[in-house]
């Protein structure tokens, strides 16, 4: 791999015209929905969810129109107003419409619409359903700002906006202390990443005097190599926070405290992939820094393995899916780290993943809905007979995720693994090997999940729900199953459709530059495909050996190997955070409160007392204070004047 890639011809940015100039409606509609639902209060309870759905579907329709409209394969910008303007710093609030952002618009509003519809059923019994739709609309609006904004600062606005929506929705069941804590943890760990993003913006302003994409990308050549590397690594830190990448991955599994539609939309399909978007969007910067890209690849590879390993150990269906998301985003990050030929692959896997992972989460939600919110897979079993639609759609998502041809994950993940093997020297073996190993592990944990949930003995028959009643699993209502079916259809064909004739990659080319074919691969593409399929099948077989052919114990075995123990403890990620950050931070805060009350303040009180003689004296001062004050003012004034005169004339 060459040290730096030659700069592509400067991108052509044209002012938005026609339909593109009303693209602000994309954001305004869900924002309006959020405003009405959150300010309107109970008055909107009756029709609130309908408004929520309508606004997002309308945005989706506009997105479709933009996609088919003329100029969608160009980079168009529409400046709305000047947001922050102080001399050299000019931040415009504007939108950038190009294949990359339009792709995201379709993903966000498309999956968003389905999940809004699904939520009508899922949240039917929740008193706060109207507020729930308000938060979902807020999320969609913020996410659209994130991907449509035309500067790093508007990106930051959307970035923290989706963080807020995520915080509100993770903490939805706020009576549960664990939900409140998970929400706060997510926000804080995201803010750690945000600081990286913020400092990257400071560096851009200092060195280029601008934060607008068009100007930054046109002038990246003026940056010193060290600065570029610093910016790329800082942006990566931001991406790690938002996308649950190592070392900031610990919040994402906890985020499963939120309602399942939230997990599907925010913590699987859209928000958590924002880090991938950020790196792809900033591709002119990453193109200039091989070191920056290497760090991205390393983080991606580490995370995809961490996610797989932990995913094998959990019994909580949503946590397994969450770690699966961590791992799949690891693949995407790995892909975008590979440089020009990787950006489009990362985004392609992102879109495919958005569909099948959202489908899997909705399936899991359907199961939980049927099982009285039970998430422990050890209490499931044999559900395929009772929930045929859920099972069928889930199965399709499963096949897509583990990459069995012809389902979508096969095409998109396979492309990434092949690209990783296309690296030079040791990198091909290390990163290609990690990606390959991950494929096998993914097949293992996902098969385990499917076997434990849908096959085997119906273990729930002998168990009671948390409220003491029996389990009566049932298929979900059409309002929930229809979105699942739509997403499942997406998982069947999308990958093939995308990769055939490099359709997707060519579509993204104006934003991400054309795909460079990998020529110097250490293994042939055919061999890689065989290896991927072989390892996946091996994973499936192993899962069947461990889980499928014998009864699953209802209580999880306590005596397990150290590896499983470590995996069950999230590979000690939380312990590390706690030992390094939270506990010292709490102690420091407590110690400082003590010192501030006793130390600094004590000192001041002491001085005051010694000046005033005693506290009794202080009290007396207070009675005739105006007089004493005037007097002491006068006296000190005279003293000071005297002192000054002496200094002057000596």
């Amino acid at each position: 791999m060459s040290q730096t890639f030659s700069l592509a011809a400067a991108e052509q940015v044209i002012p938005a015209s026609g339909l593109a100039s009303s693209a602000w409606l994309l954001i305004a509609l869900p924002a309006f929905g959020a405003l009405v639902l959150l300010v309107g209060g109970r008055r909107t309870n009756a029709w609130g969810h309908l408004l929520g759905i309508t606004t997002v579907v309308a945005s989706f329709a506009i997105g479709i129109a933009l996609f088919f409209g003329s100029g969608s394969n160009q980079i168009q910008e529409a400046n709305l107003f000047s947001w922050i303007d102080v001399n050299a710093l000019k931040v415009d609030f504007g939108l950038r419409l190009d294949p990359l952002s339009i792709t995201f618009v379709l993903l966000i509003t498309g999956v968003g619409s389905l999940i809004h519809i699904y939520s009508v059923g899922y949240m039917a019994d929740d008193d706060g359903r109207r507020r729930f739709f308000g938060y979902l609309n807020l999320f969609v609006a913020a996410m659209l700002i994130l991907v449509l904004g035309n500067s790093f600062v508007t990106l930051y606005l959307g970035w923290e906006g989706v963080g807020l929506a995520s915080y509100l929705l993770i903490g939805w069941y706020q009576n549960r202390p664990s939900a409140a804590t998970a929400a706060k943890k997510a926000f804080l760990m995201n803010r750690v990443g945000d600081v990286g993003l913020a400092v990257a913006i400071f560096l851009l302003f200092k060195n280029l005097g601008t934060t607008q994409y068009a100007e930054v990308f046109a002038r990246v050549g003026e940056l010193s190599p060290g600065t570029v590397t610093a910016i790329t690594i800082l942006l990566l830190l931001g991406a790690c926070g938002k996308s649950g990448q190592f070392p900031l991955q610990a919040w994402l599994p906890d985020a499963m405290e939120g309602p399942t539609p939230v997990s599907a939309l925010i913590h699987a399909a859209t928000m958590v992939t924002a880090g991938v978007y950020l790196i792809a969007r900033a591709n002119p910067l990453y193109n200039l820094s091989a070191d920056g890209r290497l760090v991205v690849i390393v983080i991606g590879a580490i995370t995809l393995l961490i996610g797989c390993v932990i995913g094998c150990a959990y019994d909580d269906i949503k946590k397994v899916l969450a770690y699966s998301t961590v791992s799949q985003i690891g693949y995407m990050i790995l892909a975008v780290g590979l440089g020009p030929f990787g950006y489009a692959l990362g985004i392609m896997h992102l879109v495919a993943h958005g569909f099948f992972k959202a489908g899997l989460f909705l399936g899991a939600g359907s199961v939980m809905h049927a099982m009285k919110d039970e998430v422990d897979m050890r209490k499931y079993g044999g559900l395929w007979r009772i929930m045929p639609i859920t099972f069928g759609t889930f199965l399709l998502g499963y096949l897509a995720l583990i990459g069995i041809p012809p389902f979508s994950g096969f095409f998109t993940k396979d492309a990434i693994i092949a690209a990783a093997f296309g690296q030079e020297g040791w990198r091909a073996w290390v990163f290609g090997g990690a990606a390959l190993l991950g494929a096998g592990l993914t097949a293992f944990y996902m098969t385990r999940l499917v076997l434990m949930t849908f096959f085997g003995k119906q273990r729930w028959k002998d168990l009671k729900a948390e409220d003491g009643s029996d389990f009566h699993p049932h298929e979900s209502k059409p309002v929930m199953t229809v979105p699942m079916i739509v997403l499942a259809i997406g998982s069947i064909g999308a990958g093939f459709f995308f990769t055939q004739g490099e359709r997707f990659v060519n579509w993204l080319a104006p934003s991400l530059q054309p795909l460079e074919k990998v020529e110097h691969g250490v293994l042939s593409h055919g061999l890689i495909q065989i290896l991927v399929i072989g390892l996946s099948v091996l994973g499936v077989l192993l899962a069947w050996l461990f889980v499928g052919r014998k009864d699953v114990p209802v209580v999880k075995p306590a005596r397990v190997s150290p590896v499983v123990k470590a995996a069950r403890a999230d590979l000690y990620g939380n312990h590390l955070n706690e030992a390094l950050v939270s506990r010292p931070g709490t102690w420091l805060a407590r110690a400082l409160v003590y010192v501030d009350n006793k130390g600094v303040d004590g000192l001041v009180n002491g001085i005051a007392a010694s000046f005033g003689g005693s506290s009794g004296r202080l009290r007396r001062l207070q009675t005739g204070f105006v007089r004493s004050y005037a007097l002491s003012m006068l006296a000190s004034g005279i003293l000071v004047v005297a002192a000054l005169l002496m200094v002057r004339f000596s």
Binding site: Q174, A180, L588, V640
Partner: protein
């Protein structure tokens, strides 16, 4: 910088000069009238009317002010103590105008917010509202004064109503807190007085042998003074201002005063009164002692970032909700100090905007905290839990104000904090990065406080007691805590609107501030680090 002599300016803008005098005197007259009203309701209504008329008067001032016009506008000058060259001169620049507008907005909100406050035994509403209005005159005077001595007089004068507001109408330890506030301010005031006198004496050497305390004249001549002289005079002003807008370690009076002050008074204390300190940095320290400002900038920067981190950590560890407000403010004043002494137009504009935004955001948070305390009758966070279940609107507005305090983009404080940090980075990268880390801590203290008070099951002495005993805990049907009433919503609504509006469209305020900010940076003799001219 505009170097028009003061006399000319006084002559040229005579049309608007009466306006400033009216803004200054109206609250004082109103305060005197209110003091004599026997009926509590009458007193409140009169005070509210006066404060609303004052707010209306701000509008023509805002319209008359020409952002790119002379340095000081709406000027008015009368001889006061001719022997010492002291004038009673008023005038405003962009920063002073926005602060006067902030006072105009906050005062009626504070009066509305205090409407149902239970005053301590034997204290009438007339006294309280009269003092609030008198204090408003003092605050307007501080920002409108263009004579250094007149500034000093107002600087001290606001102490008196504040002292009584805390000492007579405050919480259980009000006398201690008022005394501490008073002693601190007294100390700062005296040191500043020494510097004011020194400034007069020294000015003779650079102003053709004529001593003067006219700010405009001083700001054009004082840069000739040698560094050592500048440093001494700078320090006199600086210490007074660093006590006012408390920089660590001169901050310990604020948590006590804030904790014991009635809510409305606390809002004005952290929202406006403390800004006198940061305003002082901008109006007096930088233009009058440019060499000293540059020389001592590292010291101020260190104190500022120390305040950001220290204030945030203490806020996180706080159990008393009102003290929490004080520590949040200390952290925010750290940001303002950082921006001012990082010497770029972006950072200084950020600081000046921060002064407004902090008043709105923290002011709102403070009012909301007051509404929580009014319901639970306790300032201790430990006495609460799960309040969101009982009062969802109150919870939502607390979170909203908290998000503004932690500078969430889309809300007003983000713009100012971003400007401070992005503008500080070129000259002071390490400080800017520490400041950025302060953003994480801000999220921690706001969200942790929210979690402890509002989330989880309903619990805590303040709530379970009120809900009729532990048996009813968690059952909103039996709880007797009411959500926000109409008055409370009306009081908070304008703040919500302003916080969102200025988050997306800060231009109306920034455009007024920017020429003044440019002039302030030029007076230090520095160019912008990025795109400097």
């Amino acid at each position: 910088m505009n170097t028009q002599p003061a006399a000319m300016i006084a002559g040229t803008s005579g049309g608007g000069s009466g306006l400033l005098l009216a803004l200054l005197l109206l609250p004082l007259l109103g305060g005197i009238v209110v003091a004599f009203l026997k009926d509590d309701r009458m007193a409140k209504l009169t005070a509210l009317t006066v404060s609303l008329v004052e707010l209306v008067l701000v509008v023509p001032a805002w319209i008359t002010y020409v952002p790119n016009g002379s340095r000081i506008q709406l000027a008015l000058s009368v001889d006061w103590i001719p022997n010492f060259g002291i004038h009673f001169s008023l005038g405003i620049d962009g920063i002073a105008l926005t602060m006067i507008a902030l006072i105009g907005i906050l005062t009626p909100i504070v009066i509305g917010g205090s409407w149902a406050d239970k005053l301590p035994e034997g204290r009438g509403a007339a006294g309280f509202y009269s003092l609030l209005l008198v204090m408003q005159t003092g605050m307007v005077g501080v920002f409108a004064a263009t004579d250094v001595f007149l500034f000093y007089v107002f600087f001290e004068a606001v102490l008196v109503p504040m002292y009584f507001l805390v000492g007579r109408f405050g919480g259980p330890r009000r006398q201690y807190a008022a005394m501490k506030f008073f002693l601190y301010s007294l100390l700062g005031g005296l040191i500043m007085l020494a510097s004011v006198i020194g400034l007069y004496v020294v000015s003779k050497d650079y102003n053709n042998g004529v001593g003067t305390l006219d700010w405009q004249t001083l700001s054009t001549v004082m840069d000739q003074a040698p560094l050592s002289t500048q440093i001494w005079l700078f320090l006199g002003f600086f210490v007074a201002f660093a006590i006012k807008a408390p920089l660590v370690p001169l901050h310990t009076w604020l948590p006590d005063a804030t904790a014991e002050a009635p809510i409305g008074t606390g809002v004005l204390l952290v929202g406006v009164l403390d800004k006198i300190g940061t305003f002082g940095f901008l109006r007096y320290c930088l233009p009058l002692f440019p060499a000293a400002s540059k020389e001592l900038a590292p010291l101020v920067l260190i104190l500022s970032v120390l305040g950001i981190v220290y204030g945030a950590l203490l806020a996180a560890g706080q159990n008393d909700m009102k003290r929490l407000m004080a520590y949040i403010s200390i952290a925010h004043f750290g940001f303002i100090g950082l921006g001012i002494f990082a010497f770029s137009t972006q950072s200084i504009a950020g600081s000046a905007l921060y002064m407004v935004n902090h008043g709105l955001a923290t002011g709102m948070l403070f009012l909301v905290v007051g509404m929580v305390i009014a319901r639970g009758d306790s300032r201790s966070i430990r006495d609460y839990g799960g309040l969101a279940k009982l009062t969802p609107v109150l919870a939502g507005l607390f979170l909203f104000a908290g998000l503004a305090a932690l500078s969430l983009p889309g809300l007003n404080s983000f713009v100012s904090e971003f400007l401070v940090l992005v503008g500080s980075y070129p000259n002071a990268p390490v400080y800017a990065i520490i400041g950025a880390v302060g953003m994480i801590l801000a999220a921690a203290y706001v969200l942790w406080a929210y979690q402890r008070v509002f989330q989880g099951p309903v619990r805590g002495n303040a709530l379970v007691g009120l809900s009729g005993g532990p048996g009813t805990a968690g059952d909103p049907a039996k709880a007797s805590i009411a959500d926000l009433g109409v008055r409370e919503k009306v009081v908070l609504a304008p703040l919500v609107v302003l916080i969102i509006f200025l988050g997306f469209y800060p231009a109306p305020v920034l455009d007024v501030l920017q020429p003044t900010v440019d002039a302030t940076l030029q007076s230090v003799g520095l160019a912008d680090p990025v795109g400097g001219k």
